[in-house]
Subunit: 321 residues, 2 copies
DNA sequence: GTATCACTTAAGAAAAACTGATGCGATGAA
DNA sequence: TTCATCGCATCAGTTTTTCTTAAGTGATAC
């Protein structure tokens, strides 16, 4: 059996016709006359040896071979289109599409953006706030900031910063609850955004590491870290906050971390871009700006006890003697 | 930016050239002259606005846009090719490609095949013995026999038969070990092919369900069930065998199952085919033949106590009083 | 019963893809 | 060094494909 592909224009015509379920609309999309499209479908059917459409009076319907053809052809052209867009994007040095988690976008990127815009007015930035794993070839994204254990990447990956959690709060709350031992009576905020990690960096883990007795009381739970931080900023309670997201707020003094004990999380932030795109000008600019911002930010953990955890046993703090 | 695809012949030429890293070999593959291929690549580069190949003296090398283009274009044409082959296969009513696990192929399908060949001499069968999950659109397979919990299928799925395990052996061994209580002294064969199930249907589970005391001794372990069955057939030991694979041997009396206690596994065998292919003649023929064979086979578990297990607690048998 | 809609068909025109000859620069053997 | 060879580029002419225009079919809607 001759399994070489039929004329590719015929396949493309079929893809459009199957998507619209109409020859004329497909012809319109491809900017040809309906006659041309009809001819293309005919050509495809000649090559296949069977009809792919059943011609009804006012409509068309896929035959079984047609139905067998649709998914693969759709995927195939989707892949070609994505590859082409990716190659075109390589030409474009003026826009930069960044994806990061919603919390990192809101609490880290957004407040610092104006410095990047000032340094690189020629670069137009776009943001895709999503935790979904990105496929650079498919999702029209140039760089991704991702949190996790380094794993198989199809692209180029650079470690950015580590993550710790520690209790943070407004100054007012810090005065009411000056010592870790008073926390069981305090309003606690729960950030569930890192609850997928094992062991969970939650209040129970911190209490255990800090040697505070008593079961942590329940309190408001937030699925997204930026919302939990907003709650903490409003004075709603004490948050076991992620240092990456609150470093700026701590350095500005809007929030304080009075207890001096932090838990280090096992994963790190990384900057990822597609292989071969490391030297595109806007990616270079973004990478260097990122490192500059990270270097500029004073370390909020100076003077804190950082408990490296994340092993199977969780965090083990020194119990107060 | 105009992101419409370039001429598809140019993309195909690029795919071949990138695969061979040579224009002339790509031209040979596509059965055109090198001049034509050179022109196609040039056309692609005009559309993209940048070179995709760097012309070296005796060789070509991909540029960065070229590298960005390669994976998607390769995947795209692979998908189109697979779809086309699948559509062509729909035309073919004379061959039937079946995939099943190695053990099912060897111990269930192979011994029964001649009846199918007798009933349908016009159908040529091909076998792909693999446990890998199949993609009908990609793997040139018509039907799959799979063992597992019913899950998301892109195709059409029909339950075939359930699976139990029970101790089987040659007649000679059955005389030496007539009672379950004598098993701890017997040579035991271990079939690891179902050890991925939870709870594991192993000797420990069966001993527990049958109320036999004593830790099961170690013995030969087989990663594939058919090899374990071959060992049992040779009298090498007593096997906790899968009923689907040994029903024929039990009914023929080559093996015996003297103890009357079987564990039912949680998953079932299913017959799967791609959606829309259910009525292809060779698939109908195979399906009906399968059900006929299953109906013809006498139930080997008549008179046995079948312990439905597979819950979180495993199997719980009645302990002898 | 006529208008309309969606696809088909046919013939000529336009566009594309291809061929074969020729050219170029680098490699590698003599 | 010299020269043959290899792999790609280029060009003009030709073949093939693809498209358009225009006329046609049959079923549905009004």
């Amino acid at each position: 059996m001759n399994d070489r592909l039929p004329p590719l224009t015929a396949l493309r015509a079929f893809e459009a016709a199957a998507r619209h379920m109409s020859f004329s609309r497909a012809a319109e999309e491809l900017a040809v006359t309906p006659a041309a499209l009809s001819f293309q479908i005919k050509s495809l059917e000649d090559h296949l040896g069977a009809p792919v459409f059943r011609r009804m009076n006012r409509a068309v319907d896929l035959t079984e071979p047609g139905r067998a053809l649709v998914p693969g052809v759709r995927d195939g052209f989707a892949a070609l289109n994505a590859a082409w867009r990716a190659a075109r994007r390589m030409q474009d040095t003026r826009t930069l599409t960044i994806t990061a988690g919603p919390a990192f976008t809101a609490k880290w990127l957004a407040p610092r953006l104006f410095t990047f815009a000032g340094q690189h007015p020629e670069i137009e930035m776009r943001f895709v706030a999503s935790l979904r794993v990105m496929d650079f070839a498919r999702d029209d994204v140039d760089v991704a900031i991702r949190y996790g254990v380094p794993q198989d990447d199809d692209g180029h990956s650079i470690p950015l910063l580590e993550e710790c959690v520690l209790p943070v709060m407004t100054r007012e709350l810090a005065q009411r609850f000056p010592l870790p031992g008073t926390l069981p009576q305090a309003p606690l905020l729960h950030d569930d955004s890192v609850s997928f990690l094992t062991p969970r960096p939650d209040w129970a883990a911190w209490f255990g590491a800090a040697g505070v007795a008593g079961v942590p009381p329940t309190g408001p739970r937030f699925s997204q870290a930026d919302h939990a931080i907003d709650a903490a900023l409003s004075g709603a309670g004490i948050l076991l906050g992620r240092t990456s997201l609150i470093a700026r707020l701590l350095n500005e003094g809007v929030l304080v971390a009075p207890y001096g004990i932090a838990l280090k999380l096992p994963s790190i932030y990384r900057l990822v871009c597609a292989a071969g795109t490391e030297s595109r000008p806007q990616i270079v600019a973004f990478r260097e700006w990122l490192f500059g911002e990270l270097d500029r930010e004073p370390d909020v953990l100076t003077g804190h006890t950082v408990i490296p955890g994340g092993g199977p046993g969780g965090w083990r703090g020194k119990r107060p003697g």
